[in-house]
């Protein structure tokens, strides 16, 4: 009696593969790029490989849509497709597509060989996509590693630059350390609950009193994920790594892996479902906002400045779920999701501009180099201004609604002090973003900085980012509705039902989408 059941559970069904279709397709394209790389001409084929990777991401987006048609659990309850994971799939793959587009020119200018570069982006995306749909801690760990190892290598891609190698090594060593914390957390959670599956963990936790061990496990996992999202006090690596890494990769790693790590964090926090204030997250949020903004005030290198800004933004995001009560969970989750999307649009765009402007060897990345850009290249300056205004959180841009939703969620959760810290910080933050706008428009160039015309691929990437930023700023309704739907999905998964069902039936589709 039990045997066929167990067999059915182990042998994956057709629909299981549909539920990881984007991952399969992206991996396939990544392998194709890698295999083609040694066969084709070293000089001429760079762009072709990039195009293949780009087509891969488009196929990934289409397959995400296809995957969304069949929500449910797959592979012995390790993967869950719901609107939450679909959202993050879409987000990280779209980020990769834009980053690949903005890399074409960069690779040619910096004379970097392209093959592994595009393949690694694709593999990284596979890991991130999987992070958002995994509902099993060990699978999450594996996905985290896939994404992290790809990014470790990508940060070191400017091989001739010492700073790039430094960046890669630093990121790798500290990153491994942080992952170890996460793994400890997983182990302790398993010790406390006897399972690594979210549904079973949640069921177990609801059944009896929560042990201290669970809190320790939670804290350790938060350390690991906090590192990935560059939240203070685990942020020390960020400025150095961002400064050394190739500019398009910084755009990538400051958004996509962060989004994925936030997806995991959201799943963990709400699966553990311990109502009350998470002091750990509260402190991390307040610290990240403050340290990030204060650090950014004194930067003169634009990449470092944006690195500190990304720490600050991680702080705002954390404020959305520093407190979980049954009433405000949905608004917190949806605010956080909206924020990741808006932040992705503006930050990828900003780094695309920096990528283009930096020129060979990333020579032009200081504030001084941006002087007079409003005159020498009005279009580039206007585009960067839109992204910066969005980062400040000015109305009409995605960044405004993102901050607005996050702070409303925080107020709703009675986190008045955190909100006040947040709004003061966002005012402080306005200063350093404004500095870039000021030097672009209000100062005359003191040195000759060549500005090359915007190539087609980058133009498309910039257009997509600008449209996304403004769309989220003016008509946020549809995205917001989707995130709210996702929040409901995430919260309403009745753990007991799903878990008990998993013991009797191999694959359970979640009823009603």
């Amino acid at each position: 009696m039990t045997f066929p059941m167990a067999a059915a559970q182990i042998i994956p069904q057709g629909v299981d593969y549909v539920r990881i279709l984007p991952e399969i397709i992206l991996s396939a394209f990544g392998i194709v790029v890698m295999l083609l790389d040694p066969l084709v001409d070293e000089e001429k084929s760079q762009k072709t490989l990039g195009m293949i990777a780009f087509v891969g991401t488009i196929a990934g987006l289409l397959s995400t849509w296809y995957m969304a048609q069949s929500p449910g659990l797959a592979f012995s309850n390790m993967v869950r497709v719901d609107s939450f994971s679909v959202f993050f799939h879409f987000l990280v793959i779209a980020i990769a597509a834009v980053v690949i587009l903005s890399s074409f020119e960069y690779m040619a200018v910096q004379k970097i060989r392209a093959g592994e570069y595009y393949a690694l982006i694709l593999f990284g995306v596979v890991g991130m996509a999987l992070m958002s749909s995994a509902v099993e801690l060990v699978l999450i760990f594996i996905a985290l590693e896939i994404s992290s190892i790809s990014t470790y290598i990508l940060t070191g891609f400017r091989r001739n630059e010492a700073s790039s190698s430094e960046s890669s090594l630093k990121y790798f060593l500290l990153g491994s350390f942080a992952t170890a914390f996460f793994l400890y957390g997983v182990a302790l959670m398993f010790g406390a609950t006897g399972s690594t599956n979210f549904d079973l963990i949640s069921q177990k936790l609801q059944a009896g009193p929560v042990q201290v061990l669970v809190y320790v496990a939670m804290a350790l996992m938060f350390v690991g994920l906090g590192f990935k999202v560059a939240a203070a006090p685990f942020h020390i690596w960020t400025p150095d790594v961002y400064e050394g890494a190739p500019a398009p990769i910084v755009g990538f790693m400051s958004t996509a892996p962060k989004a994925a790590a936030f997806a995991v964090l959201l799943r963990v926090v709400y699966a553990i479902n311990a109502p009350g204030r998470f002091w750990l997250i509260w402190v991390a949020a307040a610290l990240s906002m403050t340290l990030g903004n204060v650090g950014a005030l004194v930067q003169t290198n634009v990449k470092r400045l944006l690195a500190y800004s990304s720490i600050a933004h991680a702080g705002y995001l954390l404020a959305a779920f520093a407190m979980t009560t049954p009433e405000n969970s949905a608004s917190g989750i949806s605010a956080a999701m909206f924020y990741t999307a808006a932040y992705a649009a503006m930050n990828v765009g900003a780094f695309a501009v920096v990528t283009h402007f930096a020129n060979a060897g990333e020579r032009y990345v200081t504030l001084e180099d941006f002087e007079g850009l409003g005159r020498t290249s009005p279009l580039l300056a206007a585009t960067l201004t839109i992204f910066l205004l969005s980062l400040i959180g000015i109305p009409m841009t995605g960044g405004f609604f993102a901050k607005f939703y996050v702070f409303s969620a925080a107020v709703k959760a009675d986190l008045i002090w955190l909100t006040i810290i947040g709004v003061i910080n966002s005012a402080v933050g306005a200063y350093y973003y404004l500095r870039i706008i000021v030097v672009m428009y209000m100062r005359d160039a003191r040195k000759e900085v060549p500005v090359t015309p915007i190539p087609f691929g980058l133009g498309v990437a910039l257009a997509v980012s600008v449209i996304a930023t403004l769309y989220l700023g003016m008509l946020p309704n549809r995205v917001l509705q989707y995130t709210q739907q996702s929040a409901q999905d995430l919260l309403l998964q009745p753990p007991s039902q799903a878990a008990s069902a998993s013991q009797t039936a191999p694959v359970v589709a979640i009823p009603g989408n």
Partner: protein, 505 residues
């Protein structure tokens, strides 16, 4: 098209025509002349459209008119809710009136990056109108913040020597203050589940907002701080002289003429409208700050060697009158405050344009650089005198009506307020007329000033409408007060109720 039909979306039209113009302007080729003409046409069109508002306004009615209320974002519950009453009506018209004049005064004086200049100017106009027309707190905040960027850019790109410092100071001051308002708005939303001004006001009035008494003082201060920096109320005024001195003429005109009124309008609409009890409670120290502003602003204006700084400090003084009138909670005081806002917009706008004309010719605002200008520039001198007299508060000119009403209100509230404020009127006559004397009378002190050209056509076209408006407002204030008065009465209703309750018991 029937007027009823037009009335239903006239506010959206007035608000967004300048923005549409700015977007079209982006597509135009960089031929400066065409760009100037196009901006003038757009701003005049906006002005003509905005005249629909007073013409078809039902005077004597208190509530909001020309209302539009559509759902914009479902969750959170944000509405595209617009409407004007007698208070905001005239501020909209003031904005649309001043913008074409700004285009004219910038006709010759802006020759670098002309396209950007007019794009920014038109975007600024949309944001300013939006502030006065929106009745949804969220929408209000949206436009409120949206005024910041174009204004900072106007100062920072097209300003004078220390433009960057002034632009950043302006931006940071107002930005930091307004985030407190955002926090207060968020709190209100969390408790009432609405951003709608009318609905929140009614809920507060019914006492239906949980935890309101405990938080009310903080909410009041959150809103008040944002507005006080904008006004600017002493001691938050230090950004204003810098911003004015460095701003291009058009920037100064809109800054003094309209932007400062956003602050006083906000106090009148939101501080008084949402928190009547706290307004009453906090009025004494606010009135003291307003009085300090009136006197201190006037005294500092007296000793300024720089003409633009002098006018800037005179704004601090005049806006003190407005705040004094608002927090006197008397009908005369509020009517006067509204009237001073409009009068100050017209006459100080005119003064800044006139100062800009001098700067255009001599590239300096130093009063000592001029002297005896009346002989080489007779038309200019006459126009200047006219506007100065309006600003000083000569009877039959617009400044007089407003200040008189405010003083009446202040006396009704407490005599000492009226007495102290009345000295402000004397001071203002002192510093403006003294400045006028030094610049225009006597012999020409600097030889270069002998060959200075008198006002040219564009400049006349920009300044004279201000002069005419100043005179008409002074002679027939009822045209304006007819719409203002019922709105003011409605705004005072909670206060008279508070009084009658106290008296009745």
């Amino acid at each position: 098209m029937s007027t009823d039909h037009l009335s239903s979306y006239i506010l959206s039209l007035v608000t967004f025509v300048p923005l549409a113009g700015a977007l079209l302007l982006m597509l135009l080729p960089r031929r400066d002349r065409d760009i100037r003409i196009f901006s003038l046409v757009i701003s005049l069109l906006t002005f003509v459209l905005s005249l629909h508002l007073p013409v078809y306004f039902h005077r004597g009615q208190a509530g909001f008119q020309y209302e539009v209320n559509n759902q914009w974002i479902t969750t959170p519950n944000i509405h595209y809710h617009m409407g004007v009453d007698g208070i905001s009506l005239w501020l909209v018209v003031l904005t649309t009136f001043l913008t074409p004049l700004c285009v004219l005064i910038s006709w010759k004086s802006v020759h670098d990056r002309v396209k950007e200049f007019f794009i920014i100017l038109l975007i600024l106009e949309t944001a300013l109108i939006g502030v006065f027309t929106s009745l949804d707190l969220f929408l209000f905040y949206f436009f409120w913040e949206a005024t910041l960027i174009p204004m900072a850019l106007l100062i920072g790109i097209f300003g004078h020597e220390r433009k960057v410092y002034a632009a950043v100071k302006f931006f940071m001051y107002t930005m930091i203050a307004s985030v407190f308002m955002l926090a207060a708005i968020l709190w209100l939303y969390a408790q009432t589940h609405s951003f709608d001004f009318v609905e929140i006001r009614d809920q507060i009035g019914r006492g239906g907002v949980p935890n309101f008494p405990a938080a009310a003082q903080w909410l009041f201060l959150g809103f008040f701080l944002a507005f006080a920096v904008k006004v600017p109320l002493f001691p938050f005024h230090t950004w204003l002289p810098d911003a004015h001195v460095e701003a291009p003429t058009a920037g100064s005109v809109l800054l003094a003429g309209v932007l400062l009124k956003m602050g006083t309008y906000g106090m009148l609409r939101f501080n008084l409208g949402l928190f009547p009890e706290q307004s009453r409670h906090n009025a004494p120290w606010i009135m003291v700050l307003a009085l300090i502003g009136i006197i201190y602003g006037a005294l500092v204006a007296m000793v300024q060697p720089n003409m633009k700084k002098l006018i800037a400090y005179s704004s601090v003084s005049h806006l003190g009158f407005v705040v004094l009138g608002i927090f006197s909670f008397t009908q005369a005081g509020l009517n006067g405050a509204m009237f001073v806002m409009l009068a100050h917009g017209v006459s100080t706008g005119g003064l800044f344009m006139l100062a800009g004309i001098l700067h255009e010719r001599r590239h300096t605002y130093e009063i000592s650089e001029f002297g005896g200008l009346a002989s080489p520039m007779p038309v200019y001198a006459a126009s200047y005198l006219f506007i100065v007299l309006a600003s000083v508060g000569l009877p039959l000119m617009n400044g007089f009506i407003g200040e008189f009403l405010v003083l009446t209100g202040a006396f009704q509230d407490r005599a000492i307020y009226g007495i102290l404020a009345a000295t402000g009127v004397i001071w203002s006559a002192g510093y403006l007329l003294w400045m006028y004397q030094r610049v225009f009378y006597g012999k020409v002190t600097h030889a270069v000033n002998n060959s200075m050209r008198d006002m040219i056509g564009f400049e006349k076209a920009a300044v004279w409408p201000c002069a005419v408006a100043a005179l008409v407002m002074g002679v027939a204030p009822i045209l304006w007060l007819g719409a203002i008065d019922p709105a003011v009465q409605a705004a005072l209703k909670p206060f008279t109720q508070v009084v009658s309750q106290v008296v009745g018991q």
